[in-house]
């Protein structure tokens, strides 16, 4: 091993450990203080951005160094299949209604999002990106490229949508009378994908199960309807 790649390994280990350490400090703090806005993911991102800016480290360098963490994303999504399996029996009789309500809700909100963006910004590529923000990142990016959106904006708004649902979702849903763990899981999985589901999985197993179910179905529904719906809306408006 030459000197250069040895340094790369050291840098990778340091960045990865620093990321895990920061995350765990905030996770510990949140557990102790029980404050919703103290989201370990959001705060870790803010602290790490500050660190990168302070030491003028590029994102590419940081991202390459923490690759082991990003590579765990795929197995993490697979692991969400476990709570889904555990609640498969209870969900069996509600399949048709769950599928129907997720499909209709997705169509309505994709349409509103596209039209709202075109009205406020008049930028079709951003309209495409923002209407795809509720699905898991790999699907959102793939659809963005297919429909002529802006991948950077899609990635950013996917994180935003995830954080909104993760941080504010359970309290907002409680406020409007959606108190059942199943309904909360379904709602947050549909609007805030894996990021929201991962966060609410700590509340209860039902949250995790319905969140996982919802994020899979929503991703599939969006992948099927958006290539037809979004171009139609764009041609209608322009």
């Amino acid at each position: 091993m030459d000197n250069h790649s040895f340094m790369d390994v050291i840098i990778a280990v340091v960045f990865t450990l620093v990321t895990i350490a920061i995350y765990h400090v905030f996770a510990w703090l949140q557990k102790r203080l029980q404050l919703v806005w103290l989201n370990p993911m959001l705060l870790s991102i803010i602290v790490l951005i500050s660190i990168l800016l302070m030491f003028t480290i590029s994102f590419e360098q940081y991202f390459a160094a923490t690759k082991p963490l990003s590579q765990l994303l795929e197995p993490a999504v697979v692991a969400l299949g476990f709570p889904l399996y555990q609640h498969l029996k209870t969900m069996k009789y509600q399949w048709p209604s769950i599928l129907a309500l997720l499909t209709l809700s997705s169509i309505i909100v994709i349409a509103i999002s596209t039209l709202l963006t075109l009205t406020l910004l008049a930028l079709p590529e951003i309209a495409v990106s923002l209407s795809l923000k509720s699905v898991t990142t790999p699907i959102g990016i793939a659809l963005t490229e297919e429909l002529g959106g802006n991948s950077a904006i899609t990635a950013f708004s996917i994180i935003l949508a995830g954080l909104f649902g993760a941080i504010l979702g359970p309290s907002w849903l409680g406020l409007i009378g959606v108190n059942s763990a199943k309904a909360q899981g379904l709602a947050i999985g549909a609007a805030s994908h894996a990021l929201g589901t991962a966060t609410i999985s700590k509340i209860s197993y039902e949250h995790a199960a319905y969140g996982s179910l919802s994020l899979i179905l929503s991703a599939m529904i969006t992948a099927l309807i958006s290539p037809i719906l979004i171009p139609a809306l764009l041609s209608l408006m322009i």
Binding site: T66, F82, G169
Partner: protein, 118 residues
């Protein structure tokens, strides 16, 4: 420890099957196919759920850290955010809550109906 290794092998196996499905069928990312495969193998009892339970619960508790590096990527889009940031945040905020509210209330109504009938 043995159960943890069993869980890791199970997840890696499902992910590999997912990658194969993406390569052959396309359409969805490997992780989604893998998740469906994992659920299916557990449901068919080809995987032992009791051995997997503990390590998966630990993984679910800690998986948030995996999203952090991708999130830090916002740093590269400062220019876009400076120009249209507030409007984008506004639209994402409104439509995310709209979708959450729609699905949440709708399903809560279905649950309440079921309880009244039963």
């Amino acid at each position: 420890m043995k159960d943890a290794i069993y869980s890791i092998i199970a997840v890696v196996l499902c992910l590999s099957l997912g990658k194969l499905a993406t390569a052959l069928l396309g359409g969805f990312p490997a992780s989604l196919y893998g998740m469906i495969m994992f659920t299916l193998l557990l449901h068919l009892q080809l995987l032992n759920a009791n051995r997997i339970k503990k390590s998966i619960e630990w993984a679910l508790q800690n998986m948030g850290v995996c999203f952090v590096p991708a999130g830090v990527g916002i740093i590269n889009h400062f220019e876009l955010i400076k120009n249209h940031g507030l409007t984008i945040v506004f639209i994402v905020f409104i439509t995310t809550f709209l979708l959450m509210t729609l699905v949440g209330i709708w399903y809560q109504i279905i649950i309440n109906k079921g309880q009244n009938n039963g």
